[in-house]
Amino acid sequence: MSASSETAVKVQRPPAPPRGWSRERIMGWAFVGLWAALGISLVTYLFSAWNPELFAKYAPSYLSGLRVTLTLVAVSIVLGAILSLPICYARMSKNRVLNAVSYGYVYFFRGTPLLAQTFLIYYGFGSFRPQLEAVGLWSFFREAWYCAVFAFALNTAAYQAEILRGAIESVGKGQWEAASALGLSKLQTLYKIVLPQALIVALRPYGNEIILMIKGSAIVAIITVYDLMGETRRAFSRTFDFQTYLWAALLYLSLVEALRHLVDWIERRITRHLHR
């Protein structure tokens, strides 16, 4: 008995890992220092290049550009969400034709660049001007803004349909069976049981899709819509002052970060019942 307690005392514990300046730690701080230096030089550059005239001239147009970006994204996300419902239905249906058509739609819009789709609609539909004029749609497709909304809504509908499908399929089959055993109709089951569970799964992908849209919406500047990027390009082409781009970068970055944190917060909030 005493022997065992003796060995217990004598046992040599491994030394605590040294918390010195390992190579990794030095490198880590070097990188952090590099970022800090970049940040400080950015701030000092923006301070030294501060030009009240420039600011007074372009700050309002940046704000209007930001408004255009947000409106564009909001409108196309909402239209895309509405459009994604029938696509998602078709994608999940057992009807072979519906399935093939919706698969083709989703494959096309996810497999080609948004830029090419936007060009196809904005410049391409111009080829059908007589026909469009005959139907009275030409005034719609003549405007870059409407074309951008149209292209973005079609594009995001394909992505949102896939998000919705993935979320609905993530809910177990047993949920459907249990609901039908209780005598709920299909639609009731969908609204009261499946969707509340599916939307929790879908929240993060939806948030990512909105962020992708905000970032993707920068390309409308190429088809002469003056969103945030378009205003930036206009300001740069007039002043050749590089700070125009840096301001746009700061605006976009804070927009995306704010949205990302909002999604995180909502997710924490609506999954409270899942944490124990």
């Binding site: 880590g28 080609t112 090419a116 060009f119 196809l120 410049y123 539909f125 390009r233």
Partner: protein, 237 residues
């Protein structure tokens, strides 16, 4: 009115050869960007899973910045920013110098950093899927930490990260369309030129979309082959 096939034919009248050149530029840009992005992404992922808090912070700042900026803006920042920066350095030596940065290199750098910031997240989640025991097993048979990484961790990491990375490859392929905005003659730019000259805009942009679709389909065949190859190595062990 020329026929569609005459417009798409190869030769002085048709635009087939121009479009083919655009495909070459797009594909080579994507292929050159891929290793750059994978390498940076892997290093950033290593930093982000380090036990050292400062390293993690540095890696996270990198991802936050380049995932938050629009790709087009990153492209312009690199294109104009590098041009202005290099010009200022060169003007210290030769005041009259005018620097023109190659748009291919600018596109490669911009798409590379964007790709790497997404790839680092894919690698990071793959790192987290590998249990600690794999490292410990490697050390206990006497492998150095570098050998453990190369011989034990990496082969598993590739297998886990492959689906995510192949997604990123398809995104990269589509993002290359943006370089047309800085004047690189890729598929989109060539078809814009063709559309402007021939007034067959819908046809040419439709063809551009179909080319991208074809590239995506070819890629998914290639990815399938790589997945089978990696899976076979798994089965042999």
């Amino acid at each position: 009115m020329q026929s569609v096939w005459a417009l798409l034919s190869f030769g002085p009248d048709g635009w087939g050869d121009d479009l083919a050149y655009g495909v070459l530029v797009t594909v080579s840009l994507a292929l050159v960007t891929l290793p750059l992005g994978l390498l940076i992404g892997f290093l950033v992922a290593l930093a982000k899973q380090s036990s050292e808090a400062s390293m993690r912070l540095a890696g996270n700042i990198y991802t936050t910045i380049f995932r938050g900026l629009p790709e087009l803006l990153t492209l312009f920042l690199v294109f104009y920013g590098a041009q202005i920066g290099i010009q200022q350095v060169v003007r210290l030596v030769r005041p009259e110098a005018v620097v023109e940065i190659n748009s291919f290199v600018a596109g490669m750098l911009a798409l590379g950093v964007v790709f790497s910031s997404y790839a680092s997240e894919v690698f990071l989640s793959a790192f987290r899927a590998i249990p600690r025991g794999q490292y410990e097993g490697g050390y206990s048979v006497g492998l150095s930490s570098r050998q453990t990484m190369r011989l034990v961790i990496l082969p598993q990491l590739v297998r886990i990260a492959l689906p995510g990375l192949s997604n990123l490859w398809l995104i990269l392929l589509k993002d290359t369309a943006l370089v047309s905005a800085i004047g690189l003659t890729d598929i989109v730019r060539q078809s814009s030129i063709a559309a402007r000259v021939t007034k067959h805009a819908f046809m040419f942009f439709g063809v551009a979309c179909l080319i991208y679709l074809a590239l995506a389909i070819i890629s998914s065949f290639g990815i399938g082959a790589i997945e089978r190859w990696v899976g076979k190595r798994e089965a042999q062990r």
